[in-house]
Amino acid sequence: MSRRGWAGAGIGGLFLFLPLLGVDDYYLHLLIMAGLFFLLAAGMNLLLAAGQLNLGHTAFFGIGAYASGLLALHFGLTPLLTMPLAAAFTALVGVAVGRLTLKLRGAYFVLVTTGFAEVIRLVATNWMDLTQGPMGLAGVPPFDLGTARWTLQSKRDYYYFMALLAAGTLYLTARLLGSRVGRALAAIRSNEGLAESSGISAYRHTMLAMVVACGLAGVAGAFYAHYITFLSPELFGFHNTVTMAVMVVAGGQGVVLGPAVGALVFTFVPELLRMAAFYRMLLYGVILLLVVMFMPKGLVHYFRLRAGAPIPDAAHDEAMAALGVDDAGGARGGPALAVRDVTVRFGGLAAVEGLSLELGRGEILALIGPNGAGKSTAFNVITGFQPPDRGRVELDGAPITGLPPYRIAERRLVRMFQRTSVFAEARAFDNVLTACHRLSRTSLGQVIAATAAARRDERDLAARARAILDFVGLGAKADVLARNLSCGEQRLLGLAIALGPAPSVLLLDEPAAGLNAVETVGLMRLIADLRARGVSVLLVEHDMKLVMGLCDRIVVLNYGQKIAEGTPAEIQRHPEVIRAYLGSDETLAHA
């Protein structure tokens, strides 16, 4: 067992034996409440991993509590049943709220969820028949294990029950955040466009986080209902949400242990400050301020409780071979990619007008033209980021117009962005591993259960990510944070990310920008190598040495319209292209 493993086992054992060490009921109660808030904060942390701050999370806590309490009171069901029912109901409410709100980002999501909690609080206060309003719901039965004989009574009973729930939550969130799900969430937070174009659906993953978070809140609520046995609309109060947010942010957001450490520290700190009586809240505020100022990434980061996944050593030959296209749909014949009569207008201005082009299988086709000619817009239409006003796009003969970017990536058409586009706060290796997302063959259940298949899957993806990094020549930089790479290295990393989803058609937007002449020659070799492996390439580039030296055909755009199409030799002689784009021969020679 590793040192981290021993440390974990030690701390777990300590929690297990605490009640036997003569810890009095007051502290057991605090630990139970810390556990309760851990369940809530862990859920909030999942959504925050994707960059979504749910400031209405306490609403789901309250819904779970009332659901379980009412079911037990009115139908006489055992809490053993009402707890899962309440969790399922809360998760369902989460789905409904998620459908309405998850398309929102940033401040809008924060506002809407805050408003939702307030609405629910008003409902709970005023729906007297159901909730008895502000008087509260008294007489909720304590937790039992199916019969009244086995009823949890002492603080110790509830402590062990909560320890079980907290351990389960820790396991669940560790599996989620430590797997492709966690990588996808971090990717969505870091760079949503890049995540989508790597085959990661932002909506699906944030919804998954929402459902799990709400389910956990439902469990926490049900536990609370049968532990305290009294419910009031106070549960929906904003202060609860703030407490959770403090625990997540000061504990360490996006990290498994963050909410756990945060929940423990920020349950006990206010209690320990009771001796300061009058100055209690003031001191609490100061402590919070100091933590946020000096440990902005949270306590967990400060104590270095987080390590990245190990990076496999050298590339496997198999993983290297997997870079190629095995089943490129060649049997069907016809072009790999076809753009037919596409028009895009911004306001009255046509950015692309009636553009048609075909990319043959295994072909390298360049799209060139002056800055602002519509090349990037054409790329956006092909990859699903920009719906065309007219026309259609076909991949292997099947229409893909109107599909979201991640669906198009799943069909093996992947782009590399023009601006340097990486997941800046992750290591180069994790950048590529994230992009391998769609190749995972295991279900969510297998990931959570950490089956042998899921572990093998992770190993295969890691080997593949490593192979891709080696392929683009960044093997030595695998453990460097993407933001610390030089501009040119980030371009290469962008290419590696685009290779992650195993594209059969690759769109490269100015791949040589920021590379010097010698590095450009290296890039040309890479692209030629990819073609040899069966990948069809459509690229936008201003480096004429690359365009003329590498491409089979060239399409020239000007003011959104195709003005020429042909082989490099034909394009170099084309008078209109020389006038609009290439300039005098001398410029070309220098460029």
Partner: protein, 234 residues
Amino acid sequence: MLTLDEVTVAYGAVEVLHGVSLTVASGELVCLLGANGAGKSTTVRTISGLLQPRAGRISFLGERLDGRPAHAVLASGIAQCPEGRRIFPEMTVRENLEMGAYVRGRGGARAEDLDRVFHHFPRLAERAQQLGGTLSGGEQQMLAIARALMSSPKLLLLDEPSLGLAPTMVATVFRVIEEIRRQGVTVLMVEQNAALALRMADRAYVMESGRIALSGRAADLLDNAEVKRAYLGG
């Protein structure tokens, strides 16, 4: 005019510049070459105050520069045009340019400055009221250079001015750079298009893994076999 003396820079624990020394004399156009990751952009960012050296000193017109924040460096007459077309996308072209003159306080010579940059870049004059983010890549690059010029710098730092530009646009941008230095602005430029940069520059430094590996007159470096092999690709 500008002197770097044994400047060392680190990102966290990793040292990326190991004692870089270079000088730029008044009126010169000096060019910084090197492979990706050699430390060219780091050098420029250290001069402009975005990064602070761990050791060594930087002086400009006789005054010590290291330790000063970026806005103070700008006020002393050094303007940086960062790589990758960093502009304010939600501001109009004119507002972007006015931001460039911000350091000079109220009044200043803004009208003349605007006329001057619009003269260099007529395309920007046409688009003065358009939002920066809606410009094409080449136009954004022009805007970034124009914005740096708005502070009427004595020394202009250019980080890859030709990045992502169409061939005709590259020619335009380099013509403007030549005109800028004819008007007496000193230029220190990082550029991947080594052939073009060396043809235009007075002197050049070649960087390798965080050190100056080679320096000399640009014309001499153009003929240097090592430079030809490593950066000119032929």
